[in-house]
């Protein structure tokens, strides 16, 4: 069985790996489910620890100096473009 989470993760597993992942997931889910003991009724979700002043950047152009290194890590490129297999039929 291919789980939805694999698809979302863009990962695939051999049968043996699949078993290991399932074991891991089952034990984790079993463990994490015990969090349900905790009553969080009317508790606010805390997404950020810091709630300071908002941080902004002024709208001023600063060009990055090392475009070449950015391009040079690419597995495949052509004429200054990154290249991948065709994404449409």
């Amino acid at each position: 069985m291919i789980s939805n989470a694999d698809l979302l993760s863009k990962l695939e597993f051999s049968e043996k790996e699949r078993e290991a992942v399932d074991r891991y997931m089952n034990s984790m889910i079993e463990f994490l489910d015990t969090l349900n003991e905790l009553d969080t009724e009317n508790v606010e979700a805390m997404s950020h620890i810091l709630l300071g002043e908002s941080v902004f950047r002024e709208d001023i152009i600063r060009n990055f100096s090392d475009r070449e290194t950015l391009l040079s890590n690419a597995p495949d490129r052509k004429n200054g473009y990154f290249r991948v297999p065709k994404t449409i039929d």
């Binding site: 979700a45 810091l50 690419a74 297999p85």
Partner: protein
Amino acid sequence: MSLMDLTAVQLGKMIREKELTAVEATEDALSQISLYDSTYHSFISVDEDGAIKRAKKVQEKIDSGILTGPLAGVPVGIKDNLFVKGMKNTCGSKMLKDFYPAYSATTVLNLEAAGAVIIGKTNMDECSIGSTTESSAFFTTKNPLDIECVPGGSSGGSAAAVAGKECSYALGSDTGGSIRQPAAFCGLTGLKPSYGRVSRYGLVAYASSFDQIGPISRDVTDCATIMEILASYDENDSMSIKREDNNFTKALINDVRGMKIGLAKGFFGTGVEPDVKAAVFSAIEILRNKGAIIEEFDLSNLEYGVHIYHIIAAAEASSNLARFDGVNYGYRSKEFDGYNDMYYKSRSQGFGMDVKKKIVLGSFVLSAENYEKYYKKALKARKLLNESFSKAFKKYDVILGPTTATTAPKLGDKSSNIMGDYYTIPANLLGLPAITVPCGLDSMNLPIGLQLIGNHFQESTIIRVAYTYEQARGEIL
């Protein structure tokens, strides 16, 4: 006797006072590496030529009076998830085995500006996911104090490099204990700063809400000295906070009289090995004798820290690691059928199992049907835990406990359980500063770590307590 036996501050002083040069210090580190690294495997890459060149430049600047700082000319190891421009950055993964960053991390730039000589990149658990450094895609690092044991992780290479006397200090990153746990396992001092104190720019993210960069060092003085260099406001990190209180060496005060230290009962449960418990209690006695007021208290919801951590860290990791897809950088599979298959093949071949499991878990807890049940629930639990800690810090200056429940396990020992990071995790969940200092040895002569957690941005407080304890403790190793 090697120069690497000295603390970073001692070595820096000798260089500053012209007793030796930065080049000599660097050569010494490199020779130590050539002697020992085939055993310890602390480093993924060592930049010998570059290090000597940098040391020469640093020495020139020391000679001309430009560099006068305490760590100018001192060799340092950098965890291989912190970008140093010009040096390969693998993050312990096949995915990035040939990756060269186009920029340096802000912390690396800070170190360089202070005259640090970077000698190499240290081994780590793949993508920082792990606590033994065994999940590195390249090799296993050994604990220099006992090469049968793991150095801890994920910053295991950094801890081993310092403990193995291959450099004077090292940088690590700490998401759930990845600085403090290996530091504890290797008999070193490690500090995870408050979230926002040190810039994360140029750190390959694991869990963005928890990641912080910090020092692994021989003692508290080194730790405070390095922290002064690392801490800075960075406009490239929106979470970076402008602070005026970055003068941590001022906190190296041998006095804790009247300070209130809380012992959270939850940190002294049955999971803690007797040797560890004994060592921590002897440390408590020392601090009590130094005049600290110490008492036990209940820290509610502490037991849910691990749940919260596993949910949020996996969620963020699944998103942060999505960028590794072989499109514009990173490993791309040789064979695939179309672009979508390219994603599957590249990611499945490029990542190791531990990383993949974490990603699958993260996708699971964030998926539409599970979001409320796990992710949102964890954020709410985090809020409750934050309230418990806030309440505790109204009463106590520092919360004290062991850094880990056990000492370093044997290599290949797979029995490590889900609660392994129980003691270190709360500081990450809530962005609190925490330090580990060695407080004894177990029956196998493996070091034990004492952890001090401070309130937000109270690094100075934990440094002061740690320093006072260290002065009173005497030599352990």
